[in-house]
Structure formats: C-alpha cells, structure tokens
C-alpha cells in the first residue's frame, strides 16, 4: 500500500483488501503558504481499528487529522474515507472541489473531538447533542432527545442534560463533546488531543469513555500524548515528526522497541 514512502512500516498488518480500509491516505501534503506542514503521509486505517498518532508538537499530527474531515484542504495527495474521496470529485481525470453541502454530507459521517471541547455555549449538554441530528439529519426532536439521553448515560452524565457547558468540568465537557459526535452515528471518530486541555485528575474519565468506544468496535484515530492509553487501547501506533510518518506498527512494538532514533529521542522525553 505504501511503496512511495519507505519510512512507513506496515500500518495494517498486511491487510490487502481495500474494502477493509475505512481511511486511506495517499501521499497527503499540506502547506500553509510557504510552510510545508505535511510532507507526504501514506496510511490506512481498517474498520474497527484504533490508531494512535503520537509525536512532538508541530509535527503535523493535528493538521493531518483535520485533513481527514477536510477542515483543512490538502495541497497534494488523496484521501478516502469509506471509499469516498474527501473534498473532491474526480471526473475525466480532473478534480472538482465539492460544494459546501456535499462536504458537509461527507463530514457528517466522521465524528471529531477537539482539544478545547468546542461545545456550543448557548446550548445545554442535551442541546449540543441533538443539534446536528435534528438540523442535519432531520431526526424528529423527540427521537433525538431520547437518543441524546442514552448517549449522556453512556458517557456517564445522565443527570447533566440541562446543564450549560460552562457549568460542567473540563472532563464532563469533553464527554459531552464525545456524545455530541456520536449522536451523528459516525463510522469514524477523530480525536485531536482530547485530554491535553484537562486537569490531570479529569483525564481518566475521558479515556474511560474512549476505551469503551474502542471496545464496541468504533474506528478511531487518536492524536494523543497518553502513551499508556495508546499501548492499552491502540491497535496501531504512528509516530510523526516534521510532517512525515517516521515509524509505525503495533503500539507495544513501537513504544518498547523504537527503531528510529527520532522515535527513541521523543519517547525518552515522554513520561508514561
């Protein structure tokens, strides 16, 4: 799958079936003006796989994650989710940018959880969760509310439905944010450093919810600094540095026996 980039070591344990891959990135480049942030990312994520992406800050992890749901437009390369080319349509050898509502439709199948939660402050926890199902998928409000309450229960906050985000702790807000993303019944969940903005004692409750999700077979790409979580929950681990994938493989292998010196240098500085 990744003959172009020799640095990529088996992200998918030899899975050859393309139908098995939910996310396929092919030589993904991203530049902001003259600054090249992603320098050719190739990877595949299978259905049900939990892939953790680690690396020093500024290595392009978050940018890559934001490319997956087209919050950032790629400057080169291709990216497919669920067999669909993200953000573009290919016709007679030419690429056409998708229209706003077409990109929106693609995104609705991909949940995203942000470092800073980004809950809607003018809506309650429940309001945050039912907003997209009601507005985008036209789910009847009563049905969405019922489902929203189930989701709140699932993330351990059954009694916080009518609370506004500012009345919740960081960990609670992040769990509501996860429930909000799940409400769209996505086939893929993206986590952008979901615990980095939390007080240390609140990290566990968010990781618990994510662990639960993984156990239920959700396909997840998690940008994180939680090496313990990556080792325990991750099916695969990708180490990125300077806009490229330096090393990848099973979390235990990469974390215990890093092959590349940049991986070694990074891991030696990380506590876990």
């Amino acid at each position: 799958m990744s003959e172009k980039n020799e640095a990529v070591i088996e992200t998918t344990e030899g899975a050859e079936l393309p139908s098995d891959a939910l996310v396929v990135a092919e030589n993904v480049h991203k530049s902001f003006g003259r600054l090249e942030v992603l320098k050719g990312i190739d990877l595949e994520v299978r259905r049900g796989e939990v892939m953790c992406v680690v690396g020093p800050s500024g290595s392009g992890k978050s940018t890559f994650l934001r490319c997956i749901n087209h919050l950032e437009k790629l400057t080169a390369g291709r990216l497919w989710v669920n067999g669909e080319l993200m953000g573009f349509r290919q016709k007679r050898g030419r690429l056409y940018e998708l229209r706003d509502h077409e990109i929106a439709a693609q995104r609705s199948d991909i949940g995203m959880v942000f470092q800073r939660f980004n809950l809607f402050p003018h809506l309650t926890a429940l309001g945050n969760i039912i907003e997209a199902p009601v507005q985008v998928n036209r789910v009847p409000k009563a049905e969405a509310t019922e489902r929203g309450r189930e989701l709140l229960e699932r993330v351990g906050l059954p009694d916080k439905a009518d609370f506004y985000p500012e009345q919740l702790s960081g960990g609670q807000q992040q769990r509501v944010a996860i429930a909000r993303a799940l409400a769209m019944e996505p086939s893929l969940m993206l986590f952008d450093e979901p615990t980095s903005a939390l007080d240390p004692e609140l990290v566990g409750e968010v990781l618990d919810v994510m662990r639960d999700l993984a156990r239920n077979g959700m396909t997840m790409i998690v940008v994180t600094h939680e090496m313990g979580f990556a080792r325990e929950v991750g099916d695969s681990l990708v180490f990125m540095d300077d806009g490229a994938i330096v090393e990848s493989g099973s979390p235990v292998e990469v974390l215990n026996d890093p092959q590349h010196e940049r991986t070694q240098a990074f891991l030696s500085k990380v506590l876990f």
Binding site: S108, M112, R116, Q135, V136, R154, L157, Q167, Q172
Partner: protein
C-alpha cells in the same frame, strides 16, 4: 463508567472551604473611627442649592406655561405623532438590522466585489449626517420621477441586437411611493444598516473559530452554522449596542420633521407651538415625550441584555445550586 462519574472529583474546588486546620482564636472586631469627607458635603450642599433654584424656575417662569403644555401634549395629532415615531423606530430598526446582517456577511464573505461594496456602503452612510440624509431622501423625486422595473441598460443593448421597444415591464411613480414618511424611513433604515453592519460584524468575529469548526465537523452547512451557531453567540456582543442604537433611533426620528414628515411627533409639536406662539412649552413637551419613550426602551434593554447574557444566566443557576 457510571460509578466513576458519580465520584468524579470536580466538586470540591467549588464547594465550601474545608475546616481551617489551624485552631481558631477569639478575634476582637475592629471599631475604628471612619475617615470623614467634609468637602464632599460642601459640594453636595452647593449642588442642592442649584437644583432648588432650577426647580423654582420651573414653577415660577411663565414661559413654561404648564397648563397649556399639559392640554396640548395629549391632543390627537400629537398622539398620532407618537405613533409615527414608534412605528418609524421599529420599522427602521428591523430593516436596519436585516440590512446589517446582509452587509456583515458580505463583508466577511471573502469575495472582493461583495467586500468592497459593503465597505463603500458603510463608508457612505456612516459619513453623511442623518439630517442631511433625511433631507436628501425627501428630495429624491428630483432625481427620479418614475422608476421602471425591467432589464438594466436596455436602451443600449436592445438596438445593438436589432430589437425595438424596451425591456421595461412596469413603472412606478416615485411621488406616490416615496411619500415623506417612506423617504424618511428609507433614510433612517439605510443609515442604520451601516451602523448595524459594523456591530454585527464585530459580533460574528467575536465567536471563537472552534465553534464553526465543531459545527462543520458535525456536517452542518454554512447557512445553518450562521443561523444556529454563530449568530446566536454573536447576539451577546450585538445586543447591548443594538439597544443603544434603538434608543438613538427613537430620538433620530425627530429628523423626519425635516424631510418633511408632517405627521411626525416633533413636527406636530412645533406646529402647535408656532401657530399658538407657545414655542417653549411645546419644546418641553417634546423633551418629555422622548424621555418617556426612551425610558421605556431602557427598561426593555435591561431585561433583553440579561436574557441574552449566558454568564448571568449561568450565575443565576449556580446561585440556586448553592455553589460559589
């Protein structure tokens, strides 16, 4: 999972402080003599005397002619004028706000033509005094006596294509449509649109970019994001200055007198004043009417601001909850 969340350690920080570990000793309350400020009392005395002089003048100067004012303040044409003032305020604010949203969205659209047009519009209407605008719009019929609705520049391209006649479908007589009231309303709303555009733009820009991204990630379209996520949050920033704009607009409806709009409040009061040679009482009546109307608006503004301020809403709930 559920057990965990119950014991989530978030509350202690907000709860009552733990018992002081140090043993408490009896404390003697401070009973010190407070600092006196005699100069403030002197100033207050002077102000009181001046105020008394002013009130005394109100009651003794015959030019006020209070009975005359009282009698005419509620005469039928004046009351109708109050109605015109209120309707002009409401209508011009509604049009102004809608126009402001449109201009703000144009300004933030990124399309160079839309950005420039929006900027030029704001530049013009903020730069020309409202009084001048009111008179200008009152005389607009000089520019156009009739308005034709049809395809633009038909007198140029129709002959080029070898076509005869014109591409005008119907016409409007400006003098019938653009009554004084309509002209004045147009002047006020177009001017208000420029101010509201700036206020709404500031409001939209105050909303964190993460909000738009979160909504995008959920699959919401641009229009939905604006309506459901960005605008409601911008409201908190937009509402207070809009309240001020409404109050200012109510006062600026007096400018309609110069369009002229003869049914307008200030025009009516002045008309009574000049025809009866009781100019001053009628000017005082104008002050009282505008003061009464703006006072009602200020009370309304207080409640609307409280309603749209999530911090205060949160504070109320927190107080009920007992924490903080």
């Amino acid at each position: 999972m559920k057990d965990r969340s119950v014991s989530t350690p978030t509350e202690p920080a907000e709860g009552p402080a733990p018992d002081n570990p140090q043993p408490s000793r009896p404390a003697e309350p401070i009973a010190a003599v407070p600092v006196r400020y005699p100069e403030r009392w002197v100033a207050a005395g002077v102000v009181l005397v001046l105020a008394a002089m002013f009130v005394h003048m109100l009651f003794t100067n015959d030019a006020f002619n209070w009975p005359f004012m009282w009698e005419n303040m509620f005469s039928e044409p004046v009351l109708r004028g109050v109605g015109v003032t209120l309707s002009a305020t409401v209508l011009s604010m509604i049009i102004g706000i809608l126009l402001g949203i449109l201009l703000a969205v144009m300004r933030l659209s990124g399309n160079p033509v839309l950005v420039t047009v929006s900027w030029l519009y704001t530049w013009f209407f903020r730069g020309v005094p409202r009084l001048v605008l009111a008179v200008l719009f009152g005389n607009l019929a000089i520019l156009y006596s009739t308005i034709h609705i049809g395809l633009p520049f038909d007198n140029y391209w129709m002959p080029l294509l070898g076509l005869e006649g014109d591409a005008r479908f119907f016409e409007i007589d400006v003098r019938t449509v653009l009554s004084g009231y309509m002209a004045g309303l147009l002047a006020l709303s177009l001017s208000e649109g420029a101010y509201m555009a700036e206020i709404i733009r500031a409001g939209l820009q105050s909303v964190n970019k993460g909000q738009t991204e979160a909504a995008q990630a959920l699959g919401m379209s641009r229009g939905k994001i604006l309506r459901r996520i960005t605008l409601p949050q911008a409201m908190r920033v937009v509402i207070p200055p809009t309240g001020n704009e409404t109050i200012a607009m109510l006062k600026d409806t007096a400018l309609l007198a110069y369009v002229p709009v003869t049914i307008e409040l200030f025009y009516q009061l002045q008309a009574i004043g000049t025809s009866t040679y009781q100019i001053f009482p009628m000017l005082v009546a104008a002050c009282l009417w505008y003061l009464a109307a703006t006072s009602v608006l200020m009370v309304g503004q207080y409640f609307i601001e409280r309603r749209f301020n999530p911090e205060q809403r949160g504070a109320r709930i927190r107080t009920v909850g007992g924490a903080h």
